[in-house]
Amino acid sequence: MTVLTFTLIMILGAFLAGFIGSLSGLGGGIIIIPLLTVVLGVDIHYAIGAALVSVIATSSGSAAAYVKEGITNMRLGIFLEIATTIGAVGGALLSAIAPTSFIAVLFGLTLIFSAINSLRKKEEHIVLESSPLAKKLHLQGTYPTHDGQVVHYGTKNVIGGFSMMGLAGMMSGLLGIGSGAFKVIAMDNIMRIPFKVSTTTSNFMMGVTAMASSVIYIQKGYIEPGICMPVVIGVLFGAMAGAKILVRTNPKKLRIFFACLIFVLAVNMIYNGLNGKI
């Protein structure tokens, strides 16, 4: 394949990945990796590098809007970034020494987990009382609703959430993904933070988390310009197109469809990983 053909296919594929990623709520990075490795035969390390670059682009792009609206809890985000950056550095170092087949299988499992998680029903729960440690760290906050009201919320189980965030960071550094699913579990299920705040804060944190592993990726040569350019541009525009459609449609049926699609990709990746084909 010539570089030109490859680039055009990549832009199209990355656009699709960004589109599906934003409709399914999984993020574009997690879908671009199986596309690059399984479909186009690119080495998984380059795929991880390109995915990480696209994660930074999409998360910074969407975080911009949420931060301005005042939904993001910046204190919470920065505090938890301690955990995610340590995890990310560990994960990135691990990815350089771990066997490729191990990374492929782990990635497949993460993909299945994220797909199932995206189908889970999300209930809004707001706790008002914060735990003592959360109070000490000023992790409680407020966010505005559509009708101009201000919702106050408290935060629980800081240590549990912090540990889960460390794991999320490690997966991010190891696999080049935003690991939004892990982050939302840490904030939603463990720290009891409202869904709206946890998703936007998770997005806010992704850039810095990815940055911590990107230095190692650059030094190890994961960042291949010829792959990164089409991937980033495709994923970003795909995500923007997806977000536009998301406002107009109810994505529930789409989500089930994409979850099935992702499941097939994941099984494919695990199979190839076990056979040493990746």
Binding site: M1, V3, D43, Y46, I78, V89, M211, G221, C228, M229
Partner: protein
């Protein structure tokens, strides 16, 4: 009277920083992508008909400063790959600026607990640079 004045000032400060951080993230992404796009065009003009081979990973062990120096030289000589890489580096720097800006914002608010927390995050990022080539 004086108390209420400082309170509104503080509130204004926080909102202000939200806007600045929001803008920084947005323009950071667009500027870096434009650079990468230009690099991509240049790269395709010179290498569009080459045969790609990304199936085998070539591990590097380059110091980050060496990478920067290479990219700088490449950009000067109009290498498409280096221009893309420069765009990617700009993209990576966007969240770094965001952290530095938060540090500044907490300093202004005299929230020393969060000044420390932000400094720890910056410290980890700096450490990651040295981890990268200590193998």
């Amino acid at each position: 009277m004086e108390k209420s004045k400082t309170m509104t000032q503080e509130k204004f400060g926080e909102k202000d920083f939200q806007t600045i951080i929001g803008n920084l993230l947005r323009y950071g992404v667009w500027i870096s992508l434009s650079v990468a796009f230009i690099g991509g065009i240049v790269y395709l003009m010179h290498h569009g008909s080459d045969i790609e081979d990304y199936s085998v990973f070539k591990e590097n062990d380059r110091n980050i400063f060496e990478v920067f120096a290479n990219v700088y030289n490449g950009v000067i000589h109009g290498s498409g790959e280096s221009i893309i890489f420069f765009g990617v580096i700009l993209l990576f720097l966007t969240p770094v600026f965001r952290v530095l800006l938060s540090l500044f914002s907490f300093l202004l608010e005299k929230d020393y607990l969060y000044v420390t927390i932000t400094a720890i995050v910056i410290g980890i990022i700096i450490l990651s640079i040295s981890f990268g080539f200590s193998h």
